[in-house]
């Protein structure tokens, strides 16, 4: 995993041309698909009685929002960057807590049959609870909007992290455990040299599902709690009939979600041992 930079082949001119050719093959299909989508959208929203704006209208009406994501007029009247940034802060906090607690609990129930028997049934019930169902109870508990939203993120993201981590621990090949037993490895040694490297791909599977769910949950939760945040921005736009704003915010939400997913994949690439990569 280290010192791979020098291993990268030097590209000459010829390679660059063929690389651009390959890039084009990858870029054309989605570009064409997007164009067709926009055309269909334009056609349907141009029909008489259409309720949604056309793509051109959308861009016209939200031009200020698109070109100026950083404005801040105080209160809720902030640019999209600040809306998304606030949501991301909540996600970062809730998700980090979920990752720490989730990996810990996952290892606990993965290594101990007793703890697995004790806790797994509870987890199986709780994990099916929809994220927003947690909001009223957390509002009741925390009495404040922001901690409640963070708790909803936490409780939404934690289940896939726990379940995948535990699965990873249980999937450690018996051979490796036999090696650990015959060498009489200490607990710390076993943890860092066998358990973690063997489990880390599963942990990242959980983390990746978790980040997706967090982002789903925060948008929904913010609609209810109000204040700054991309979720409430959408709800606010709906209440003021700014449909174009909703559309632009949805695109933002999608792109940020994709970015979060990409970010976790990048971290996984750095952390997961080369030999343990799946797929």
């Amino acid at each position: 995993m280290t010192a791979r930079l020098d291993a990268r082949p030097k590209r000459n001119h010829q390679d660059l041309v063929s690389m651009l050719g390959k890039q084009a093959k990858v870029l054309y299909p989605p570009a064409i698909a997007l164009l067709i989508f926009l055309v269909i959208w334009q056609v349907f929203t141009s029909l008489p009685g259409a309720t949604l704006p056309t793509p051109i209208q959308t861009v016209e009406e939200t031009w200020e929002l698109i070109v100026n994501p950083f404005f801040d007029n105080g209160g809720n009247d902030k640019g999209l960057f600040w809306q998304v940034f606030t949501s991301l802060q909540r996600v970062a906090l809730g998700y980090t807590l979920a990752a720490i607690v989730g990996i810990g609990l996952g290892i606990l129930i993965g290594t101990s049959t007793f703890m697995f028997r004790a806790l797994d049934p509870i987890f199986q019930v709780l994990r099916t609870v929809p994220p927003l169902a947690w909001l009223p109870i957390s509002l009741a508990a925390f009495q404040q909007a922001n901690p409640s939203a963070i708790f909803v993120i936490f409780i939404t993201a934690i289940w896939p992290i726990i379940i995948n981590t535990a699965e990873g621990v249980r999937q450690i090949p018996q051979d490796y455990n036999n090696v650990a037993r015959v060498l009489r490895l200490s607990r710390t040694e076993y943890f860092f040299k066998i358990l973690m490297p063997a489990t880390v791909p599963y942990i990242f599977t959980g983390l990746k599902i978790g980040i997706g769910l967090s982002w789903l949950a925060i948008v929904a939760a913010e609609m209810l709690i109000g204040g700054v945040g991309i979720g409430f921005f959408i709800w606010d736009a709906w209440n003021s009939s700014r449909i174009s704003d909703i559309i632009i915010a949805i695109i933002y939400v999608g792109l940020v979600g994709l970015l979060l997913d990409w970010l976790i994949s990048q971290i996984a690439k750095l952390v997961v041992p080369e030999e343990q990569k799946q797929g």
Binding site: P173, N178, V182, P197
Partner: protein
């Protein structure tokens, strides 16, 4: 044949005649809904220090189960296994196992795989000595140049060499090999057999090895333990292999006595205890 008088031929007498490893009336049964399923029934075997024992038998006869009770991964239902009069209850580095499927940790280099064991078993040795042990044993199996390679960059034969080096680096009293060369091509297998024999000659470690290959057993072993078919497998016969050491494969093949032994073993496996599907 069972009572071949080997004293005048055997130039490698046991280091001492006290029993070293004793498998004492060991039986192993697993509970099933229809009552106990007996895998092994009343196994008795006494191994002397420095002996090379080969085990042969059809698949399912419980050879691996027997060795698992020596390594301590399983416990006998009846009887016990003792090493130097001490009852074996759990796995430990005094009985190192070379597993059939190598079981090297894929995220560690050959060096790190061996070092992990050395560090765990000799925590009090100075760092320089631990490193020297790892390097010496990599050299012993001819893999000094592959020290920094990960298992996936190594061939099957090289992986098995690392495994043997890892086992020997811990100075085990008993080396347990479960069909170590079964997955290798014939040429690599012969190479590794010779290397193992050389290492055994130099280290005089006590070896228990499962094999499917009669020629391998006759080339390597002092005694060949032949097991009857399961369930409730027993030791059918123990064959003394009296060829002088150091052994030379070609000379061995020319020895008429070699074929007597070979035919006797074949007769045991394929006539007297032929497998149902064989």
């Amino acid at each position: 044949m069972q009572t071949l008088n080997t004293t005048e031929l055997n130039i490698n007498p046991p280091l001492n005649h006290d029993p070293y490893l004793v498998i004492d009336n060991v039986s192993k049964a697993y509970p099933t809904p229809d009552g106990a399923y007996v895998v092994l029934n009343g196994i008795n075997l006494t191994v002397h220090e420095g002996e090379f024992i080969c085990l042969i038998g059809h698949s399912g006869c419980g050879k691996s189960t027997l060795l698992d009770m020596v390594s301590g991964f399983r416990k006998p239902t009846e009887g016990e296994v003792r090493l130097q009069t001490k009852r074996i209850t759990e796995p430990g580095p005094d009985r190192m196992v070379v597993f059939q499927n190598y079981s090297l940790l894929p995220w560690m280099t050959a060096y790190e795989n061996i070092y992990l064991g050395v560090k765990s078993v000799f925590p009090d040795k100075p760092e320089a000595e631990k490193r020297a042990i790892v390097r010496d044993h990599l050299a012993l199996v001819g893999l000094s140049d592959a020290a920094d390679k990960k298992p996936k960059e190594l061939s099957g034969g090289m992986k098995q060499r690392v495994c043997i080096a890892r086992a020997l680096a811990l100075r085990p009293q008993v080396l347990i090999l479960d069909e170590p060369f079964g997955a290798l091509d014939p040429i690599t297998r012969e190479e590794l057999q010779e290397e193992l024999l050389k290492i055994w000659t130099d280290h005089r470690v006590t070896v228990l090895m499962i094999t499917h290959d009669i020629d391998e057993a006759l080339f390597l072993g002092d005694r060949l333990v032949m097991m009857t078919n399961g369930p409730a497998a027993q030791i059918g016969e123990i064959l003394n292999i009296p060829f002088p050491r150091p052994r030379n494969r070609t000379r061995l093949m020319e020895d008429p006595h070699y074929y007597d032994l070979r035919n006797h073993a074949l007769d045991f496996l394929y006539r007297r205890f032929a497998h149902d599907d064989a």
